[in-house]
């Protein structure tokens, strides 16, 4: 049963369409990420759900109720803003209590629930600190506690970890996931960091120029990206020009099976870690550079189809030297072909 539904959500600012007919159905308790480069419309979508931006067209419904008719103050959503937006003149406890205060909860109950919320995010004992005296990570947790204490139907997270340094970010990702699993709140995360989206989400919505490119589980998206954009955005990929003729794709002088595609020019997308060094057949090229990365090797190969990046695991196998002539092969199912006319 769908809990939160976005139907053909559209937002136009003047001549520019920022969100273009976005439809999404989120189940109760699900953790969904809106992932994409800046300007793809993910933050605007979040703001429309929150009620700070009015949709130009389309509908948002929560548990069957039409959300667009309800003011932001009454939607009962928990929001963690990118800058945390803590009230600087209130202590951590007062910050967290604010939502409860607005709901007329009795003082005693407030104290109890605030203490619980702070404990949930690991900040017991920080009740009387002012935001100014809290580190970035601690502020982030207070913001989370403040959003969760009101027991919202949906938790909205707007790039909450982008202001933290790399190590802290990783720690917070793990904690965030644990907290969400404990509380079970339906959550929507907006991020441009593909690693974050893959680590946290039940499903990822990849967005580009206001449109949805793909919605799937992280493993599925990575394994089978629907378009070259998705392939390029999650993980690394090689984009090579190909020609389709009579059910086969030719890259350079090599051919792969390509059923059901029209003849003509196409683009092939292959992940670097799926490319192998062949003995007898494959795309011919010369090793331009090889870079040792500890866990694996990065090998750059100059071919007639362009520069190709190969990732080879450091498991003892022989890695071609600089300047060596090599043949690159891969399985047909590890390659995505797209022709102009389909999503770029």
């Amino acid at each position: 049963m769908s809990f939160l539904m976005l139907q053909s959500l559209t937002k136009r600012f003047g001549d520019t369409t920022v969100v273009d007919g976005l439809s999404l159905s989120v189940d109760k308790g699900e953790f969904v990420s809106l992932l994409g480069p800046s300007g793809c419309g993910k933050t605007t979508t979040l703001q429309m759900i929150a009620g700070f931006v009015e949709p130009s067209a389309g509908a948002i419904s929560l548990n069957g109720r039409d959300l667009t008719r309800i003011t932001p103050a009454a939607r009962g959503l928990g929001i963690v803003f990118q800058s945390y937006a803590l009230f600087p003149h209130m202590t951590a406890a007062e910050n967290v209590a604010f939502g409860l205060e607005m709901r007329g909860i009795a003082k005693l109950q407030q104290v109890k629930r605030v203490d619980e919320a702070l404990a949930l995010v690991g900040l017991s004992g920080f009740s009387d600190r002012y935001p100014r005296r809290l580190s970035g990570g601690q502020q982030q947790r207070v913001a989370l506690a403040r959003a969760l204490v009101i027991k919202p139907d949906v938790l909205l997270l707007d790039e909450p970890l982008s202001n933290l340094d790399a190590k802290l970010r990783e720690e917070m990702q793990v904690e965030l996931r644990q907290i969400q699993r404990t509380v079970g709140t339906t959550t929507i995360l907006v991020t441009h960091d593909q690693g974050e989206a893959m680590a946290l989400s039940d499903r990822i919505v990849v967005m580009n120029h206001g449109r949805v490119e793909q919605v799937a589980r992280p493993t599925d998206i990575y394994r089978a990206p629907a378009t070259a954009f998705v392939a390029n955005f999650l993980g690394k990929t090689n984009l090579l020009p190909a020609t389709i003729a009579a059910g086969a794709a030719s890259i350079g002088t090599s051919r792969w099976a390509a059923d059901g595609m029209m003849d003509g020019v196409a683009r092939a997308s292959v992940r670097p870690e799926r490319i192998m060094f062949g003995d007898s057949e494959g795309l011919a090229g010369t090793v331009k550079a090889r870079i040792f990365q500890g866990h694996h090797w990065l090998v750059q190969v100059a071919t007639e189809a362009g520069l190709v990046l190969v990732i080879a695991p450091n498991d003892g196998r022989a890695i071609p030297d600089d300047g060596a002539a090599v043949l690159l092969t891969w399985r047909a199912e590890d390659m995505i072909l797209s022709q102009s006319g389909s999503a770029a």
């Binding site: 932001p72 803003f81 937006a85």
Partner: protein
């Protein structure tokens, strides 16, 4: 930074700033000290200034009810001007902050521009507006709000109005600067947690703006209490304040020591009030803000 670095940095710094420092020491400290000393000298209409030490001037200021009345009026006017300026300047700063282009770049020029115009010209405008045949009274009588013209010139009310006009832009500046530093998402956060418009303003926006309001208020108070040209023109001989009193003593009566005592008392009184307010502000707000 090592002690050596601090020392060497210090040498260069003192060398660079030296000339300016000397100039200031000579031109600021010495005259002020001299004025302080002057307030203890004696004076007579025929003998002029006599450099002896006497408490006569101070005794006169502190005991004579004439002087007390003037100082009371000075601070009363300053307080009124401050309160009114804050009451109308703060909403205006808020409104300016919410404007969109092109108004957003246009109206600040209108509000701040008068600060560049000489206070004499501005006050002259009020003198023109205030007279019994001035525009304000003409309008009030025509609209039937009053039966006969109200006296504004040479009244405290007139001085207060004119001073508010001169000083309110400073409140707007201070509050607007503070508003611009606010994180707009904080307001949104409060709304998302269920706060109504008025609650959000009262509980979230106003407390954050307070430091800006208070610092603007302190500046306005200090300038209103020591104002000269505006009370002189609008208040005339009838409504004297500390500054015009000092002017009288110095340039009319020529009793410099007494004038000096008035000036020093004004300076000390202001310094005490301002230092006190600053201390209060620090205590309340330093926990929460920088």
């Amino acid at each position: 930074m090592s002690a050596k670095e601090i020392a060497s940095g210090g040498h260069v710094a003192w060398l660079l700033a030296g000339p300016a420092l000397l100039l200031f020491a000579g031109i600021v400290l010495v005259p002020i000290v001299m004025t302080g000393l002057l307030s203890f000298y004696d004076w007579g209409p025929y003998k002029g200034i006599e450099t002896v030490f006497t408490l006569k001037n101070w005794r006169e200021i502190v005991t004579d009810s004439y002087f007390f009345g003037i100082f009371l009026r000075t601070f009363r006017i300053a307080l009124l001007v401050t309160v009114i300026s804050v009451l109308i300047g703060t909403p205006e700063a808020y409104i300016l902050n919410r404007m969109e282009k092109p108004w957003r770049s246009f109206f600040p020029v209108i509000v701040l521009g008068p600060l560049l115009i000489s206070v004499v010209a501005r006050t002259l405008g009020w003198a023109l507006l205030f007279g019994s045949t001035g525009l304000i009274n003409v309008a009030l009588v025509r609209l039937g709000i009053v039966a006969s013209p109200i006296q504004f010139m040479f009244t405290e009310t007139g001085v207060v109005i004119a001073l508010v006009h001169v000083l309110v832009p400073l409140v707007v500046i201070s509050v607007w600067a503070t508003l611009q530093r606010l994180d707009p998402q904080i307001e949104n956060a409060a709304i998302s947690l269920g706060g109504s418009g008025f609650t959000v303003f009262r509980r979230i926006v106003l407390p954050q703006v307070m430091p800006g309001i208070l610092s603007g208020a302190i500046v306005v108070f200090a300038l209103a209490a020591s104002a000269f040209a505006t009370p002189a023109i609008i208040g005339g001989r009838r409504i004297k304040v500390a500054s015009t009193l000092a002017y009288d003593e110095f340039l009319n009566t020529l009793n410099w020591p007494l004038g000096a005592a008035v000036a020093v008392l004004l300076l000390v009184g202001l310094a005490a009030i301002i230092a006190g307010s600053n201390r209060l502000m620090e205590r309340r707000y330093s926990e929460m803000f920088r």
